[in-house]
């Protein structure tokens, strides 16, 4: 602000200076001119006087009246510039003289020889310069001496008589200066006000138009300034709008990116996104559970920095090689070194920009945990292998016995035995096939329970009796112990009969001669417990954990000596569980084995409803 004010004042000062300079110049010119005029006047007066005196007769000047008349006349003129008049002889000695008050006649100098001509000389009094004219003093035609007329050289300073003139000239000029200055200040006032207003606007940091009242050219300036301000504010508004649009679209982009990322996070597979250079830019949470690597260790790193499988690293490297960049997706399966039980399928897909299929900007890598599928496939293969083995074993026996029958026809007993074996094996085969079908149906979930209300007591008695009839040949004792009144249960009669049959026939099959098979039903609060026990070969602790597995048969010779295919108990348990019941093997027994079957009294209804 001070600088601005000073700048404003500087113009005023400059104007004053220029005015003073002009005044000084004019005054100087006037003085010089005036001095010259006065000089000319002095010269003409002095030379005129010198000539006048020279033309006067010598006697009139010297002898008559001792020269006082003429000289007195001269003195009486009272010329302020007059210094002296002196008559000297040829040797320079004064003959007569007259001087102005207080003037000493200076020495003649080193030109004592009088001249016949009027000559001009410059001399100096004690204080002032003197112009001296010398004329010959003639006495009857001869040179008698010289007439010296001295006049003061006019000074630079004007005479008092001229002061009024100069004052008259100077006054209006001096009056004009403040006038101009005031005028200038007045003209500058709106500019200062405008400056102040701009200053205020700057301090308020707001873009506003000026509200200054003004007229003339300055109003034009204010108008244009305001026009400029509104143009700037329009431009700023446009920029603000563009800015908010940009912010909105950036928000939308962020939202979309997050949505995609959260979708990728929800995938059951490990997903990694790599940029063009092969560095990971995104890795979802499944990376840790499938690959066993923290996503933090993957993001921002190249494949060889986080992956210890060479095949995977070389596959991913092919997507980032500049020379032979892969443009198609590829996948293969591998087993991570850290977890040999796992099987992981890795698939890599090049990421193209939507507009340009040639522009690859990264790679999407998906790791799928195939372990379960592989195990399932292994289990399926194993199951099929078991089935093939179990189907072929009786066929093998039948085939061999049939062949033998053709040859061994001489012994009728051998024939009967052979035919019995064939018959047993056919029965075993039929049983196996029907069990296999049932278990497959149950496992596939395609079996529909045909539930009916069945009186449990009657149902168990019926099944138990049919088994006891067939087992009588082995000298076995059969004990059935049912409570007096047993309620009805909601079961699939046919399936439940298969389950019960499997338990009971095992009790018969793995029994010892003279042993017993017992069935007891316990009526508990909300369930019935069917206990089937035998006095047979028993089940070892090692086998106890596996007996419900499909195709499991104990390794003992006692077991192998008996026909079986390892499906009976697995199927029985599946059927019981289908009825929301459960089965357990009572391992507390010292000999033989006891199975407990738990069937809920009413929960089957509730569970159905649920």
């Amino acid at each position: 602000m001070n600088v601005q004010k000073w700048a404003g004042d500087r113009v005023g000062l400059l104007m004053i200076l220029v005015t003073l300079l002009v005044i000084g110049t004019i005054t100087g010119v006037l003085y010089t001119n005036n001095k010259q005029q006065r000089m000319d006047l002095v010269q003409s007066q002095a030379s005129g006087l010198a000539r006048l005196l020279s033309s006067m007769p010598f006697d009139a000047l010297i002898k008559e009246n001792r020269g006082s008349n003429s000289l007195q006349l001269i003195n009486s003129q009272k010329d302020p510039n007059f210094a002296y008049t002196v008559l000297v002889d040829t040797s320079g000695a004064p003959l007569a003289s007259i001087t102005a008050n207080g003037v000493l006649i200076p020495e003649q100098g080193n030109t004592p020889v009088p001249s016949l001509w009027v000559t001009e000389h410059r001399l100096r009094d004690s204080a002032r310069n003197i112009i001296e004219f010398r004329a010959p003093l003639m006495d009857a035609g001869t040179l008698a001496g010289q007439i010296r007329v001295g006049y003061f050289e006019p000074g630079y300073w004007p005479d008092r008589s001229e002061i009024s003139l100069i004052a008259t000239l100077a006054l209006p000029i001096f009056l004009l200066v403040p006038f101009f200055y005031l005028l200038f200040r007045r003209e500058m006032r709106p500019l200062r006000a405008a400056s102040q207003e701009i200053e205020d606007l700057l301090q308020s940091r707001q873009l506003q138009t000026m509200k200054l009242d003004s007229s003339g050219e300055f109003s034009d300036f204010i108008g244009k300034f305001n026009q400029f301000v509104s143009m700037v504010s329009d431009r700023m508004e446009t920029l603000n709008q563009q800015n908010s649009l940009a912010q909105e679209s950036s928000l939308v982009l962020t939202y979309q990116r997050r949505r995609i990322e959260s979708a990728l996070q929800c995938l059951p597979d490990a997903v990694i996104v790599m940029d063009e250079s092969g560095k990971t830019t995104f890795a979802n949470a499944m990376v840790e559970s499938i690959l066993g690597i923290e996503s933090g260790k993957i993001i921002g790193h190249l494949p060889h920095q986080w992956c210890d499988n060479k095949e995977v690293v070389s596959l991913l490297a092919r997507y980032h090689s500049n020379v032979t960049r892969l443009r198609r997706s590829e996948s293969f399966e591998f087993t991570p070194a850290s977890n040999p039980g796992k099987s992981i399928a890795v698939s890599a897909y090049p990421l193209f920009t939507p507009k340009d299929r040639d522009d690859i900007f990264g790679t999407l890598v998906v790791f799928h945990d195939n372990t379960e599928a592989k195990l399932a496939s292994q289990a399926r293969d194993e199951f099929i292998g078991h089935v093939a083995h179990e189907l072929k074993s009786p066929l093998n026996v039948i085939h061999m016995y049939a062949e033998n029958l053709l040859e061994a026809h001489e012994d009728p007993q051998a024939r009967i035995d052979t035919i019995n074996v064939i018959n047993d094996e056919i029965e075993r085969l039929a049983q196996l096939i029907s069990n296999l079908l049932s278990i497959t149906k149950i496992e596939a979930g395609s079996i529909a329970l045909n539930k009916q209300r069945v009186k449990l007591g009657e149902f168990i008695e019926d099944t138990f009796n049919s088994i006891s009839r067939s087992g009588k040949s082995d000298n076995l004792t059969f004990n059935l112990n049912l409570p007096r009144s047993l309620g009805a249960v909601q079961i699939d009669k046919d399936l439940m009969r298969i389950a019960l049959n499997n338990f009971l026939s095992n009790a018969v099959k793995y029994n010892k001669p003279g042993g017993s098979v017992s069935l007891e039903v316990l009526d508990e609060d909300d369930r019935y417990t069917i206990c089937i026990s035998d006095t047979g070969i028993g089940i070892s602790a090692e086998d106890a954990g596996h007996i419900f597995e499909k195709f499991y048969r104990a390794d003992s010779d006692d077991v192998r000596a008996r026909n079986g295919h390892g499906l009976g108990l697995a199927l029985a348990r599946e059927i019981i569980e289908l009825h929301h019941g459960s089965v357990s093997l009572d391992t507390s027994q010292a000999q033989g084995s006891t199975f407990n079957i738990f069937i809920n009294k009413s929960s089957s209804f509730i569970k159905e409803a649920v």
Binding site: H389, N396, H399, M400, N404
Partner: protein, 126 residues
């Protein structure tokens, strides 16, 4: 007398093979699993081994490998009966020069013919 060892966990199979091959004058001995078979082999040194693959305690594969890895020069003919038809098992059995793969259901006539041919070939060689 040529001795044949039959190894199978199925008693019916042993019984019928025994009955069938006895007609040709072979001495038939049997074992119900690989482990039992090894003790029998130590004692009897049978000329031919007819074995199943899927058996408890010691499988047919383990039995054959044990015989093959024996440092002695006892190398009987090994006839492997199995229901498995997969390629791996076939390749495995082919790795033994003295092994013969026979698929179940096994034909007793084919078995006896093969054995008769084998023994007569040995006899004519000897």
């Amino acid at each position: 007398m040529n001795t044949i060892l039959i190894v199978d966990d199925e008693p019916h199979v042993i019984h019928v093979i025994k009955q069938f091959l006895a007609r040709f004058g072979y001495r038939i001995i049997s074992a119900s699993n690989g482990a039992q078979a090894l003790t029998v082999i130590d004692k009897e040194h049978p000329d031919v081994l007819v074995t199943d693959i899927q058996m408890p305690k010691m499988s047919g594969q383990e039995l054959c490998s044990a015989i093959e890895s024996d440092p002695g020069d006892y190398r009987p003919l090994m006839i492997i009966m199995t229901s498995r038809t997969d390629h791996e098992l076939r390749t495995w059995s082919e790795s033994f020069p003295n092994a013969k793969f026979m698929e179940k259901p096994l034909s007793l006539r084919r078995l006896s013919t093969y054995l008769n041919d084998y023994f007569s070939a040995i006899q004519s060689d000897g």
